[in-house]
């Protein structure tokens, strides 16, 4: 096929010549690749969603699978990193959506809505993950919250049969007892937990550290122990009258409100007054207010700063506002007014915002003489939690938190820790990520006796400016169907109803696939030298002829192709 350049004899006549200026022979001999100064390479990069996800979900990957109607494969992919997609699809604060490059174009991709559908799909179809070669080492996990469940799941995938010791009657921790069922239905949580237990996780409930369970003993009996006890000790207001009847902690309230009737300690739902006041601006405050609303009360939320400084996740604040719950901003409690040790009112003081404090938010300063009273029979404190550490050996603690290296190992070699016990109160997905990392560390430790790790260099995710957005059409985010206000207050039914499969496909199709090839063919179409070769599931460059013009790189919508300077 290849030919050498030929000198055309001048004896040729008009009739012998081609109709127009075309080379007489083919040009394959002319390896134009030698002209190249820059070489294009397929160089997949990190999408910002994946980079941000605390449990490291390959979000672009599962959106691509969903787009192609491959829900089971999407479930398998998500389960590599997250044992609880149906849960996280509902309760995660989805920082992935904040980082989504689509925000700079129209609206972020509804990642958590798709994640939820994938999780539900897995449950509905009883999908199973593959379990590795059986391993003998025994591992104890203290605490069956998100961190403990995540560690148990990842260890089970590797072939271990870890044991979870749980103080409560059921696994789930904050998921079970903290998050109301209108956000996370109990049956969904239970199914997702059950599917993990079926992988070979042993569960012992009613085991409370310091009471019938001791860390040092476990450390002797088991090859490794993971402390994943969470953070559930509620902070006090430190104001007069706090001990009165009618002042309760948000977690205690949510715990009771969340128990099925027959299980509740007192046999009935906690009683609250209609004029209940919730103090705080975090997620627990929002959950408490919305739960109280569903119990027939007219809750008021008091927060010492303004809406802008509220630590609750924006979706929760929006939902709370939609449910027409009253907010009193720039007010702080100073005294609980009691009558016969019963709460009758809360005295507050007005605040104003000063300069920024260590958290970066503006510090509230009391306004002298601005005290006022709110009539109320119930006050729910939701001003934060901290880990309960009284049962943890002091040698493992620092500043009331369990102290570990970044792989979760404490000062004692076979004791690891993960989740809120290490970090203080954080989110579900962060605990899940920590559980995953500690499972990997424990695996290494029990097999090799030490946790060695190579430093992974920090990789910058692909940003909006690096994409070629000419190829993306504007498309609104598929809205999530949800119950209207009137239906919400009457029951504890789940507020958000979930995408239908076709909605999830439409939404997944909005993904920019930042840094990851999704086989759009642009490079193949645009290459002026036909130097892109299309193969099954990949493209290759034919460097014999690629001149390095860079058109492929600039026309790649996803910033997959990089240009590397040729060293000559």
């Amino acid at each position: 096929m290849q030919s050498k350049i030929k000198v055309i004899p001048t004896t040729l006549k008009v009739k012998d010549l081609p109709p127009t200026a075309i080379s007489m022979s083919n040009m394959l001999f002319n390896k134009t690749g030698s002209w190249r100064n820059y070489k294009p390479v397929y160089d997949e990069k990190l999408p910002p969603c994946n980079a941000t996800c605390p449990s490291g979900e390959k979000i672009q990957g599962y959106l691509y699978l969903v787009k192609n109607n491959k829900f089971a494969e999407a479930w398998q992919l998500i389960k590599q990193d997250n044992p609880l997609p149906a849960v996280c699809g509902r309760v995660c604060f989805h920082p992935c959506e904040v980082e989504c490059n689509r925000n700079d174009y129209d609206e972020s991709v509804g990642i958590h809505n798709v994640e939820r559908l994938i999780g539900d799909y897995g449950l509905r179809h009883n999908l199973r993950v593959k379990i590795g070669i059986k391993k003998k080492q025994q591992i104890a996990i203290i605490g069956g919250g998100p961190a403990g469940i995540s560690a148990a799941y990842h260890l089970a995938r590797m072939g271990y049969k870890p044991t979870i010791f749980e103080a409560e009657r059921q696994l789930g921790g904050m998921l079970q007892y903290g998050i109301p069922s209108y956000r996370l239905p109990k049956n969904i949580l239970q199914k997702e937990i059950n599917s993990i237990i079926k992988m070979g996780v042993k569960v012992k409930t009613g085991m409370r550290v310091g009471k019938n369970l001791f860390i040092e003993e476990l450390a002797k009996k088991y090859h490794a122990v993971l402390i994943a006890t969470g953070a559930y000790k509620e902070r006090n207001l430190d104001i007069p009258g706090e001990e009165a009847r009618g002042v309760i902690g948000a977690l205690d309230f949510l715990h009771e409100a969340n128990l099925p009737r027959r299980q509740a300690g007192s046999g009935k739902k906690p009683t609250i007054s209609k004029d209940v006041v919730i103090i705080g601006g975090g997620n627990a405050a929002m959950d408490a207010a919305r739960s109280a609303l569903r119990m027939g009360a007219h809750p008021k939320v008091i927060y010492r700063r303004t809406r802008n400084e509220m630590p609750a996740i924006p979706d929760e604040i929006r939902d709370t506002e939609e449910e027409k719950i009253d907010f009193i901003f720039l007010a702080a409690p100073v005294k609980v007014i009691t009558k016969n040790n019963k709460t009758v009112a809360l005295e507050c003081i007005r605040m104003k915002l000063g300069s920024a404090d260590s958290s970066g938010r503006r510090k509230p300063i009391p306004v002298k003489g601005s005290n006022f009273r709110i009539k109320t029979g119930t006050i729910i404190k939701a001003i934060g939690e901290s880990p309960e550490t009284s049962f943890i050996p002091a040698s493992l603690l620092k500043d009331n938190l369990v102290c570990t290296d970044k792989w979760g190992m404490t000062a004692q070699n076979n004791i690891f820790a993960a989740g809120d016990a290490v970090t203080g109160p954080k989110t579900v997905v962060e605990a899940i990520g920590a559980g995953k990392r500690s499972a990997q560390a424990i695996d290494k430790y029990v097999r090799t006796g030490k946790v060695t790790h190579t430093e992974i260099p920090e990789v910058k995710p692909v940003r909006f400016e690096q994409l070629n957005t000419a190829y993306f059409e504007h498309a609104p985010r598929v809205s999530m169907p949800h119950l209207e206000f009137k239906q919400r207050v009457k029951s504890t039914k789940e507020v958000y109803l979930g995408y239908k499969p076709n909605e999830a496909i439409t939404e997944s199709d909005r993904c920019f696939s930042c840094g990851v090839c999704n086989f759009c063919d642009n490079c193949w179409v645009f290459c002026p030298d036909m130097a892109v070769i299309k193969k099954k599931n990949k493209y290759e460059f034919n460097y014999d002829y690629c001149k390095g013009c860079g058109i492929c790189a600039s026309e790649c919508p996803h910033n997959v192709i990089s240009l590397v300077e040729e060293k000559k």
Binding site: I8, V14, L17, P19, I22, S23
Partner: protein
């Protein structure tokens, strides 16, 4: 099927019925409606073509060249300044011997900035190697696009179908849209010369030394020579299958004419109206020669008609500065080696979109009949002196 349509949409229908496969376009007044309707056809699936929005007319023609080289039936449309911007690629298309069909809506060249008609834009491309067809009605526009592909794909030269801005592009009349099955019969799918073969890739448009470039240019003239019989054949075939015929020129009521008007574009239809009235009054010594095909210039055919007349009034809606009307120059040149020729009167009118009315045509006839010879080289009609 009868349809009320503008000249612009008549272009779009022509391209659709021809089953154009690639349409690269950039909008420009007064051409915009053409691409609007075509993009609509593409979006709704009425026309299965790749519609390319490009960033300039230069790229329009570049993309059309690429498409045509690859074997697709390529269509586009432009006007005035857009055509001028395309100029480099206009040469490429012809030298590349590519059967692209393009509609040009005549628009006066700026400055003074204008969107109105005259022929200087298309006539400035007359020597590029494109075949040029000037149309007088919407029906002729649709039919000429279809015929254009038939001719282009036979002789491998691009075809420009030309219509007047607004006077034709934006006025509506009833046309007969041909049945696409009949058009398919007339114009089968384009089968390109086997030039582009991915397995045997050759270089296009590369360097050609003086040893051979001369011969390649000769081949273009050779193709132009073939074009006149091919265009006549394409017109006959059109008549046979689709029932209409235009000829490459048309002698209208010239049987007893000693004065003949030479016209093109919509001035032809205005002149027909005047001539019809005169003939109805019994004055039958005036006729019209409509020049439909300007490139290649059908000199022999023109001479055959005009040599019977004593006086010829060439009406030019254009001007070759420093010479006179361009049609007039070509007509005179056609008689170059003839022993005898009629007296030529060169009227220039309608430049910059000025209306040319039946009264103007009557004035032209009156002047020609009352003068033995023209008093000036150029007789300006309607000039505000």
């Amino acid at each position: 099927m009868k349809e009320v349509t503008t000249g612009n949409h008549a272009v779009s229908y022509g391209a659709m019925l021809s089953r154009a496969q690639v349409i690269a376009a950039y909008p420009i007044t007064p051409q915009t409606q053409i691409v609007e309707l075509l993009s609509n056809f593409c979006a709704t699936g009425k026309l299965k073509a790749k519609f390319l929005k490009v960033e300039s007319e230069h790229s329009v023609m570049a993309a059309s060249i690429g498409a045509s080289l690859a074997g697709a039936r390529a269509f586009t449309a432009t006007s005035g300044q857009g055509l001028a911007l395309m100029h480099e690629m206009i040469h490429w298309a012809a030298n590349g011997r590519l059967p692209i069909v393009m509609a040009d809506v005549n628009r006066s060249m700026a400055p003074g900035w204008s969107i109105w008609t005259d022929q200087n834009d298309s006539l400035s491309q007359r020597d590029t190697g494109w075949i040029q067809l000037y149309c007088e009605s919407s029906q002729e526009v649709t039919d000429s696009i279809i015929q254009g592909f038939k001719i282009a794909e036979k002789v491998y030269l691009p075809v420009m179908v030309i219509l007047d801005a607004f006077v034709l592009s934006h006025t509506s009349e009833v046309i007969d849209l041909p049945d696409i099955k009949l058009v398919d019969k007339y114009l089968p799918p384009f089968k390109a010369r086997d030039m582009m073969d991915m397995k045997n890739p050759r270089a296009f448009g590369g360097l050609v030394t003086p040893d051979f470039n001369f011969e390649l240019k000769y081949k273009i003239q050779e193709a132009m020579n073939q074009t006149i019989p091919v265009a006549k054949w394409a017109d006959r075939e059109f008549k046979r299958i689709l029932g209409r015929s235009y000829g490459i020129i048309e002698a209208y009521k010239c049987e007893k004419a000693d004065t003949i008007l030479v016209t093109s574009g919509t001035i032809t239809s205005t002149s027909r109206y005047v001539i019809n009235q005169l003939h109805a009054q019994g004055k039958k010594n005036v006729g019209i020669l409509k020049i439909r095909m300007f490139r290649p210039f059908p000199a022999k055919e023109v001479v055959a008609v005009l040599s019977k007349a004593k006086k010829v009034a060439v009406i030019d809606r254009n001007i070759g500065y420093g010479v006179g009307g361009i049609f007039c120059q070509e007509v005179k040149a056609a008689f170059g080696n003839e022993k005898k020729h009629p007296e030529f009167f060169n009227f220039i009118t309608g430049i910059g979109g000025r209306d040319v009315t039946p009264k103007d045509i009557q004035g032209i006839i009156d002047y020609t009949e009352t003068h033995k010879k023209p008093k000036e080289d150029i007789i300006w009609v309607g000039l505000r002196k």
